[in-house]
Symmetry: none
Subunit: 210 residues, 4 copies
DNA sequence: GCATAAACGAGACGGTACGTCCAGTCTTGTC
DNA sequence: GACAAGACTGGACGTACCGTCTCGTTTATGC
């Protein structure tokens, strides 16, 4: 649970927070995002859908942005990286799954909106990083380890360099796919994925060889 | 001027639209974006800053999103690609200039916000594509032509393939830099740019060799 | 019109305030008072009944209290004092009419409520005085002049003394009737009015004789 | 104690109600009335001031109005009527004491507010009558008995008539003073009290003579 | 040069959502 | 079973913008 620590022992007295409310609110938020999009989503509407009072929302989240980050973070957690046999296949698989996720209206509209809001809000930026960015880097790390085990990529001794490379690859993959899908508004189909993966594979092999 | 045709001869009689108002409004919009960010920018505020009535805004733009697209599109037009002697140097240069642009608060906040809005608005998506995306692809085309002239890259006979590659490179560069800067919230410094450019160069050489 | 000066020439530009809205709002306020009473009357409800936006209410009145004072002030203006032939008959008549007015739920609930609010609000106190108290003193002044013309009461030379007496009689009549009707919650019937008038007549004759 | 019977033997098991809580709550209510006035007084605030949970308040009073009636009733009980030697002096004394009481903010704001609320609430009307009105009539009865003993007023054989007269005098005195102080917002000073008492004395003498 | 007609500023309009506050109830664990 | 604590539903608050509208005023052109 993304926001687990928010519920942890706020003291000991008083009525405890409803455990079921959190899940209902996040689900309602995703539903509302699908139907209304970010800009027409309202806290009132979410509270009504979740069968919860508006005060309950504000008691748990500071505002629309924070709520939506948590709501969509769960979506991104659904991404998996099964072993497809080769690094190339692994990359193609995860890019397609990610593109699929970005076709979901709640993900499309929410992701860019919260990033936009975060440009003026340090706390929100941290929340995005911890709830979304850092959590999904696991896919890059996992893919890399598998490729190293297969002998497709060399082991990197320098820990800092390894981290930098992980970050770079993550930004290249996630950024390129998001830009293709949301900014350029072009389809992320198998043809394009193959071309992108080829470019990336050459880049990786060339860079690690050097 | 992005919206030039909107002013063209609407008939013959009546008071013509103020030519100076457009520029004043777009400048006021950028100022307001810097100070307030996207979500707190209001049409009333822009009209007040521009010394113009609210009706005048709505007579020329359908809403906040359309106005902001035009306002920031001008920013992106300022990107240039002087010849730095090699493809590698050209890429490093443009990436650094682009990152610089993304450090400007009006660009940061506006770009992601209008992309988010565009997920539910076909017309806005088209406007972004024509006012921003397509206009900046010129940089990729120019860089490629120079590299081909230098012999760094082969000529591509197939026109469709050439277009696809241009699009791909554009998404990789723009997407990766935006993701690094705005989503991951990490600095786009010379070290990172060198690593990214190296990856991209290897990718390009490998892909075009195949 | 109680609030006439509020509408007077606020400048010259801009859309003028709707003239009909004022009347509709005051009527809606009285309706809501009848149905809901003071404490359950809400600005939202009034705006809905009047077919007017909430902002329009707040543009014209500072709050519930101010609105209600204006709304009920019109009720009190309906009190008249026809010549019943003698001071005694005039007093009995106006007391019965006043009691009748206080049986109307909008008057009962509103009068005491705004007086209560006014205990912490100098501006509201002034508004009550100018919109209700001072306007109804006319009845006392008129009754007194008629009684003097009939020879039932002597002319008072001293202007200050005349004013003081007017105020005193007004407070005695209005206060006693209000207290009987709203605090003691006893009926103001003909029997009681006769007894009260007798007391007051003796008081007046005795006091003016001295 | 106004609400004494509410605490009597609620059964036999369980923790008994705190005896000190009642007094603390009523005192806290009066404090809050002084600081905040009726409309801004909240049950939460009272409970916090009294160091008591909100549930404890609701266990003992049905709502704000009931609580406030009990809280201010105690104030009115403080009125006394020492023998000043003559009916006139007794009246002047009690009127001045009453006016003094009405200068206290908790009395001013609460009295009118609960009366206003009572216009739509039969039970509250009864509570006001029994807790405030009927208890203070004792002053009129006592003053009358003393005046009769002194020979200033005749004995009234008819018991019903005596009651009516008590009620009338009570409404005249209380109503006039309240109206002067709270509605007309004019000072109840010695000059005014003398004029009012003179009027009342003439009224009483004339009426009882007839 | 005078009428026509559109664009202009000002600001009121009906709506809608905001985030806060309070009412009154309910659910804990403690006394 | 009363108590302190505090989360709960529900709903009004007063504010802020939205995008539209209605004014009176200004500024081009075309007769």
């Amino acid at each position: 649970m993304v926001s687990a620590m928010r519920n942890a022992s706020p003291g000991r007295t008083g009525r405890p927070r409803s455990a079921s409310a959190d899940a209902a609110i996040l689900a309602a938020t995703r539903d509302a995002l699908v139907e209304l999009g970010w800009s027409k989503l309202t806290m009132s509407d979410v509270s009504a859908r979740a069968g919860v009072a508006k005060t309950t929302l504000y008691r748990r989240w500071a505002g629309k942005s924070e709520l939506v980050v948590d709501a969509v973070a769960e979506l991104f957690d659904s991404l998996e990286l099964p072993d497809r046999g080769s690094l190339e296949a692994d990359i193609e698989y995860v890019v397609l799954r990610f593109a699929e996720l970005l076709r979901r209206p709640e993900a499309r509209t929410a992701l860019m909106a919260v990033v936009s809001e975060s440009t003026r809000d340090e706390a929100l930026r941290d929340r995005i990083r911890s709830a979304i960015v850092d959590r999904q880097k696991r896919l890059v790390v996992l893919g890399r380890e598998r490729a190293q085990a297969r002998g497709e990529l060399p082991y990197e001794e320098d820990e800092f360099l390894a981290g930098s490379t992980t970050d770079l690859i993550f930004d290249v993959i996630a950024g390129t796919v998001v830009h293709r899908a949301l900014v350029s508004s072009e389809p992320v189909d198998e043809l394009w994925v193959a071309a992108f993966t080829a470019l990336l594979m050459h880049g990786l092999r060339g860079a690690t060889a050097a």
